[in-house]
Each structure stands twice: as C-alpha cells, then as structure tokens.
C-alpha cells in the first residue's frame, strides 16, 4: 500500500504548514511540523458524534441508534483484549484521552519520547474493537456516574436545557452521553454496527503535530495502516429532521444548588446545505457580532456591569454545526428576568441602529490576535483542524475569512439570525 495525492496547506500569517496525503485505505493523513517543541501530539478522529443517531450505509433501511452511543463507543474502544489502552499509554510515558462532541469522536495522545510506538498503539486500539456483554455492562456503571457528575454542573445544565428548548427534534438537543435510560439499551452488537459504519478509514482523519521528520512519519504510518484491509465505505448518509426556524419552547427553568440564578438566552440558526467555507464565515461573523453587542467593550456591558446585573462571566458565543447553529448570551445574574429584557431590548436597538465601523475594525484586530494565540497550542491546531475538516472547512482559511469579513455581513446576520421569533431562554434557579 502507499499514499496517493499530496496537498500542502500553508498559511503565511500563522506561519504554519500542514501536509496531507491520502492513504490507499482511504484515510486522509496529516502532518504539521513544530520544530523545537518537546511535545508530540497525535489524534485519530472519526466523523461520528452525538447527533449521528439516524443513518444509512449503501442503501437499505435507515438505522436508528439510542442517544449516547457515540460516547459509549468512545469509552469502550479504550478497552482491548490485553487491557485498558489508557493505562498502557500512561505506563509508557504518554498521556492519552478521547472526547465525543456533536459530530466528532477524537482519540488522542501526547508524549515527549517514543512517538511512533504511541502512534502505533493509537491506531491499533482504535482499529481493534473489543466488546463483550460483560464489559459493556460494566461501562454502563462508569458512564452512569459521569452523567450524574454533569447533572450537578450548572454550566452544563443551563446549556443543554437551552438546546432542548431551541430545537424541536434535532439530535443536537440531546446530551452527548445520553441518559441512564438510553444507554441501558446499548449492546455489543449495536456498538459493532456503529463501529463498522463510522470507523472506516474514509470517514476518519489521522493528524500528527510535533518535531518529527515528515517523510519518516508518512512511511511509518503507511506500514501501520497497511496491516488491515477495508472494503470501500460506499455511500454513508446521515439523516437529520427538518427543523422549523422557530424555537420549540420559549422558556425552561431548573432548580439546582447554586448561589445565583443563571440565564442563557439562545437564538436558533437553521442553515441546511450551507457549504463549509460559508459555515466558517458565518461562525466568525456570529462571534464578532455577539462581541459587538454584549462584549466588555460595549456601552451595554458597562451599563449591566455597573448595575451589577452581570459579572465578568457574562458573554456571548456563536456556534455552527453542519445544518444548525446557535448564539448564546448570558451568565450568572441576580435578576434573570430583568437581564433577559435588557438583552432583548439591546438586540432590538442594534437591529435598527447597526454598528460603528470603528468598533467592528477593532474587533477584527482582537479576533486576529486571539486566533494567533490559539495556534500556539498543538492540541488546538490538531483537534480543530480535524473537527472542521468533517464540516468541509479548512481551518487555515480562518485568516482569509476574517480579512474578508465586512460590516454588512454582520448586519445582515444580525437581522436574519437574532430574530425574536427564534429565541429561547434557559434559567437555573437556586433551590430554596
């Protein structure tokens, strides 16, 4: 076996170069050299996340799987016949982990020495599923504890309660780990079915970053990958429900042991079929838009802060998935209802009045600086590069997209997206 086409992705502002070669198994393999760094980092990611609950491979009937199966699979892949891969990495001086997000499962490690041994271990354990009735049952106990831990986290609850209010049917509203009830139905057979569908080389990415020799890397990876044969993936379809533009529920509340109420105001975004680069542009525009409305440089923030309606945790953030997205504004506050009114009134005002060009240019500068800062991190570079690839986005385009962004783009997004008809509110109230 060998590698086919090669592509070099370079960015002069970031001063980074990534080389991509497609392996004959179908796997895209990436490398980014970081001379002088002690740390080596690699990740092996699949385009399978919590939202992929209904799918079809190569025709036939669509399969529907219980909530939390991608996350469950992530836990189980750390187990092999020889033992727990997490422990094995740790014993050999590397640190390994994995995470599941809405659309990705990512397995990763960092090390200072023995990079190729660890890389081989990563590829081997991700390619060697080992599910037994016994080890699947045992994992339900561990994940049950994990779910409980998140149930005590007000930051997590206010966020997922908001998603559940914003969306009618879209699986983005489901907690990534599922619930104790949904994972109860998970079996070894079900896990294997998902594994065979989504852990196919054509649906995955291998990315390494660090001070290693590029040619040696590709030749070693070739040897590691060539041990296993794969039939072509064929057509893989994911099915998502059609979401109405309006929010499902206007307001949700939950009581927890917290010192102050917590408010998240969310605006729903529905944009099926938006091409990757435009998705990135929308995400950037969304981030800057929220900074211009509720960021700490605004008069609005100053007024709220001085009135003690907010503290420095108050913020806005925007996120875009393939077909849906959302903007969130909020934080801790003694008066959630008053804060909500203030935010809605301010959005109403900016939708009419627009923004000052000077503020917009300053935010672009700030965004440029924070983007450069993020690329200090090997983990950020690798994880985000893979995550965005699955959405059809080249992460390095962030620089050009940022330069190209104009105030009219923001004002259009503001009118279209920050629409009072698309809003939902999630509040956590202190238990009496």
């Amino acid at each position: 076996m060998a590698f086919g086409e090669e592509r070099t992705i370079r960015n002069d502002t970031l001063r980074e170069t990534i080389v991509r070669r497609r392996h004959s198994s179908g796997l895209p393999v990436y490398f980014c050299a970081k001379p002088g760094f002690q740390k080596r980092y690699a990740c092996y990611a699949t385009h399978f996340g919590s939202v992929d609950s209904r799918f079809r491979r190569g025709g036939g009937d669509p399969v529907e799987v219980p909530d939390g199966v991608a996350h469950f699979l992530e836990h189980k892949l750390f187990e092999s016949e020889e033992g727990n891969a997490l422990e094995e990495f740790s014993r050999l001086g590397a640190s390994s982990n994995a995470y599941t997000s809405f659309h990705t499962t990512n397995y990763l490690f960092s090390c200072a020495e023995g990079f190729y041994g660890h890389l081989e271990r990563l590829i081997r354990f991700v390619q060697a599923p080992y599910f037994t009735a016994e080890n699947v049952e045992k994992e339900k106990g561990i994940i049950g504890q994990e779910i409980r831990m998140y149930e005590d986290s007000p930051g997590w609850r206010v966020y997922f309660n908001l998603l559940a209010a914003l969306f009618h049917d879209h699986p983005v509203k489901k907690d990534i780990a599922g619930t104790v009830e949904t994972i109860a139905g998970i079996t070894p057979e079900l896990l294997m079915r998902c594994y065979e569908t989504f852990y196919h080389p054509e649906n995955m990415i291998l990315f390494a970053i660090g001070d290693e020799d590029r040619e040696e890397y590709f030749s070693r990876v070739d040897a590691m990958l060539s041990e296993k044969q794969f039939a072509p993936l064929g057509r893989l379809e994911r099915f998502f429900p059609t979401e109405p533009a309006a929010a499902a529920t206007r307001r949700v509340e939950e009581k927890m042991v917290v010192s102050l109420p917590r408010l998240f105001l969310g605006f729903k975004d529905v944009h099926p079929g938006l091409p990757g680069p435009d998705l990135l542009g929308r995400e950037l525009a969304g981030e800057i838009l929220l900074e211009l409305i509720v960021g700490p440089a605004t008069d609005f923030y100053r007024k709220l802060y001085e009135a003690q309606l907010i503290d420095d945790g108050f913020h806005g953030s925007h996120s875009s998935l393939a077909d849906v997205g959302h903007s969130i504004i909020g934080g801790e506050t003694p008066e959630p209802e008053r804060l909500e009114e203030e935010i809605l009134a301010e959005i109403d005002r900016v939708r009419r009045d627009g923004f000052a060009a000077e503020d917009f240019e300053r935010q672009k500068r700030a965004m440029m600086g924070s983007t450069l800062r993020h690329f200090n991190s090997l983990e950020f570079t690798a994880n985000h590069f893979c995550g965005y690839q699955f959405l059809g986005i080249d992460l390095f385009e962030i620089i050009d997209r940022l330069h190209a962004l104009e105030l009219v783009d923001l004002e259009r997004l503001c009118r279209e997206h920050l629409d009072p008809a698309r809003v939902a509110t999630s509040v956590i109230l202190p238990r009496a």
């Binding site: 997490l86 001086g93 809405f102 561990i142 930051g155 945790g313 913020h315 600086g369 450069l372 800062r373």
Partner: protein, 461 residues
C-alpha cells in the same frame, strides 16, 4: 480519562476568579530556564527567550501571607483592571487590549502552602506575527505599566487618592458573589470544605479568594493603601517569556520596575512557612445537599517539608497512588471496581498534605472509601510492582519534558520553588526523581497519616 467537551457548553473562563489550588507540579528540561534579575529588595524579574510561540507572556505575581488581607489582596488585580488614569473604565481598558491585537489581560489567585499569590497575566502577539510594520511590544508593556502604577485614583496625581466608592461597591459585590459561588462547583467546594475541617486553626484553612466577612472592612481608601504597600514593599515577581534576547527583554520591561517608590531597605517580612503538622484522627465529616453525585475528599499529612531529602520518594509514591491513568486509584478503584467516574490524588508539597478526591455513588461510600484506603496502604507497604514504579518515573519524566513548551506552567513551577526559598533546577529535579527506589517510596510514605475524611453526599441516603 475519557471526558466529553462539547460545542461550547461551559461559560468562558472568568476574567479572574479561576480559583484553583493547583498542586505545585514539578519541572522541565532546562536547568534554569529563567534568568533572574533582582531589581530591588522583594522585587525580581525572571526572563526567558522562546522563539517557538506566536505570543509573548508576561506574569506579575504578588506574594503575601495567608493573613487578614487575603480578601483585599485577592481583589487587587481585579480593581486594577477597572481602569487607569488614561483609561478610566473597564470599557476603555478593554478597548485598548482589543486594539493591541486582542492582548489578553487576566487575573488569578492561588495558595502555595501558606503563601497567597495573586497574579496579573498579559499575553500578546509577538511583533513578528503582526501584519505590516506595526510593533506593539513597547506599547503593550506601557499599557501594563499604567495598569500597575497608574490606577484610577481620585484626586490629582493619584498619590493620595482613593479608589472610587461606587466602583469599590461593585467590585465587593462581584467578589461576594464569587465567594458564594464556590458552591456551584461541587468538587472544588468539597475540597475546600475538607481543607477547612483538616486545618481549623491554621492559616491554610483560608480560601484564596478570602471570605465574605472581610468585605465590610474594605473600601476605596483601604484598597488604595493596600495597592501602595504592595507596590512599595510587597514581594513582586515579574516573569517574561517571549521572542527577544534576554537583555532586550530586560530593557523593554524597565518601565514596569523603574522609579517605583520601593521602600528603602528590605521588603516587609513574611512569617516563616510552618513545618509540616502531625495528622488528626482520621475523623469523618459528612454533609448533605440536594445533588446527584457524592464527592469524597480524604486528606493526609505527609510530614515531609518541601526541600527535604525524602520529597522525591513522596512525589513518586503519589504518582503510583493516583496522579496518572496507570495509578492504583484509577486502575483499581475506577476501572477495576467501577466505583467512581473520577478519582485522583494530589500533593500540596509546601504545606505537607496529600488529598484524594473522588466522585462516587453515595450508596457505595463505605466500599469506595475502604478500597481507596487499601491503595494508600499498599503504597506504604511497598506493595507495588517494578512496572508501577518505572511507569510512574517515566510518566514524570515525560511530564517534565513537555512542560518546556509551556512558559506559563514553567513560571508557576519556578515561582513555587522560589516561594519555598529554593532555586528551581529542573534538570537536577528530574535526576532526583529518576533515582527514586522502592525503598525511597516506602520511607517517604511511612509518616503519611490520615487527617479528615470528608463526604459531600446527596440528601436522603
């Protein structure tokens, strides 16, 4: 341990107020990464060149005692961020950081044993990465100089002024909410409660953010006085890591340290750090709340001072016990018995304590506690394999090497050693860890004694 991040679920880290009692971790590969310059008694610069990164990092640390000024001192960096003479509001200050290509100014507070450390942190883009010829280095350091030396005190010249009363009222309220909000994170809340139960008559019981009761005593005048004392006689360590030669960095940072009203003579003395204490009785404290998961924190006294000969054995022993994914707690308590989702141990080397923190199912508390105690006894009795010992030493070696890439982490470690009156020599420290034997671990764990078992449990069990 596999965890799940998500899109953007957690609120962004707060400007200050990321209260974290981080254990003073160990080292990196260079022997003395930071070049030290003693500018005045109690005021030092620590400089390092690093051409691998796209940003420069500047950290200002104030080191004090865990005394009655903890609350006010914890607030000081946040108050300084509320404005300067030229940029009189948080808003104006934020706009300036945005203009400086998103320079990131933040604050932090921590304890290192019975030392209280408050911090202003500034990270900004390296000039080489900026579009066009528009250097910001000097301007950004000038900006930090204003934040440190020219706060927005009322009255002309600022010398006799005080902080604005309304601003102080807001900051005190924000700080009150921050302290009351510690309960929102059940795991760190349980850790703090265990510290309070373990150290009822020691300054170490205090939380790094202070207490709500102290807020009444703080006003614009007392805060201005604290600022003056800190700047003139407080212990200040300024760390810089960036892409310029150390001599140039020293010149560039001069505005931060020159011509301050440093008091003549030495800086005001700090009380000596206490010797490690003997343990209590292993007393059990159970508190209840309407929560889903129980949090168990077990405290131990190590009996070993920071710079003592047995410390490397203790550090490796803690690694075997619970610092890594191959450690006993993870393998036997989490994976083997499915008793918890999270469990791990950490050393507070300056204060001579060890903490084991676990998220457990309250119904299986007795079982979990017993099994955790078995792991501690096994390390003490030398019941660990050569593989466990070697793996742990290898893991520390890797951790120390990778630290080299992170100037922030290296600054934290260098400071922790400095606070303990030691020069941080990471090469030497690595050698000492590598030389640890089974007997060293057993010897170091011999004085380890249980102090308090604290359980934060759901109601109704």
């Amino acid at each position: 341990m596999p965890k799940r991040p998500a899109g953007d679920p957690a609120p962004r880290p707060k400007r200050s107020r990321t209260a974290s009692a981080r254990p003073a971790a160990a080292a990196g590969p260079r022997s003395s990464a930071f070049q030290r310059r003693d500018v005045a008694p109690g005021l030092s610069l620590h400089l390092d060149r690093d051409d691998r990164r796209k940003t420069n990092l500047l950290n200002v640390f104030w080191v004090g005692a865990l005394d009655d000024e903890v609350t006010a001192r914890a607030m000081l960096p946040n108050v300084l961020m509320r404005g300067t003479r030229r940029l009189p509001t948080l808003q104006a200050l934020t706009r300036e950081t945005e203009r400086l290509y998103g320079a990131s100014l933040s604050t932090d507070v921590r304890k290192i044993g019975e030392r209280h450390v408050v911090q202003l942190r500034l990270e900004f883009v390296n000039d080489r990465y900026l579009p066009g010829a528009e250097p910001i280095l000097a301007e950004t350091i000038g900006f930090l100089r204003e934040v440190l030396h020219e706060p927005n005190l009322g009255g002309k010249g600022g010398g006799k002024g005080r902080f604005d009363a309304e601003m102080m009222r807001q900051e005190k309220e924000t700080h009150r909410r921050l302290i009351e909000g510690l309960i929102n994170d059940k795991r760190s809340f349980a850790l703090q409660r265990c510290v309070e139960e373990s150290c009822p008559d020691e300054p170490f019981r205090r939380h790094e953010q202070g207490s709500v009761e102290d807020l009444d005593r703080i006003d614009g005048a007392s805060m201005a006085e604290l600022w003056r004392t800190q700047m003139s006689a407080g212990r200040i360590a300024i760390y810089f890591s960036g892409d310029l030669p150390v001599e140039e960095a020293e010149r560039a940072l001069a505005p931060l340290v020159e011509a301050r009203e440093r008091a003549a003579g030495s800086a005001s003395p700090l009380p000596p750090l206490p010797a490690p204490r003997a343990a209590g009785s292993g007393r059990e404290v159970i508190e209840r709340m309407p929560i889903q998961q129980a949090n168990l924190v077990q405290s131990y006294r190590t009996g070993i001072p920071f710079a003592e000969r047995r410390m490397p054995g203790l550090v490796v022993g803690n690694g075997i016990l619970g610092a890594f994914a191959h450690s006993k707690l993870f393998v036997n308590v989490r994976e083997g018995a499915s008793l918890c989702y999270s469990t791990g141990s950490s050393l507070e080397r300056t204060h001579g304590m060890l903490f084991i923190s676990s998220g457990i199912d309250a119904a299986r508390y007795a079982e979990a506690r017993a099994l955790i105690e078995v792991q501690v006894e096994d390390v003490r009795a030398g019941r660990f394999t050569d593989l466990e010992l070697d793996s742990t030493k290898r893991a520390f070696e890797a951790r120390l090497r990778m630290l080299d890439d992170s100037p922030g982490a290296r600054m934290d470690i260098d400071l922790a050693w400095q606070v303990n009156g030691q020069t941080c020599d990471l090469v030497r420290w690595r050698e000492r860890l590598a030389a640890v034997t089974r007997d060293d671990v057993v010897e170091a764990f011999a004085p380890l004694a249980a102090d308090v078992v604290y359980l934060l449990a759901p109601e109704g069990d």
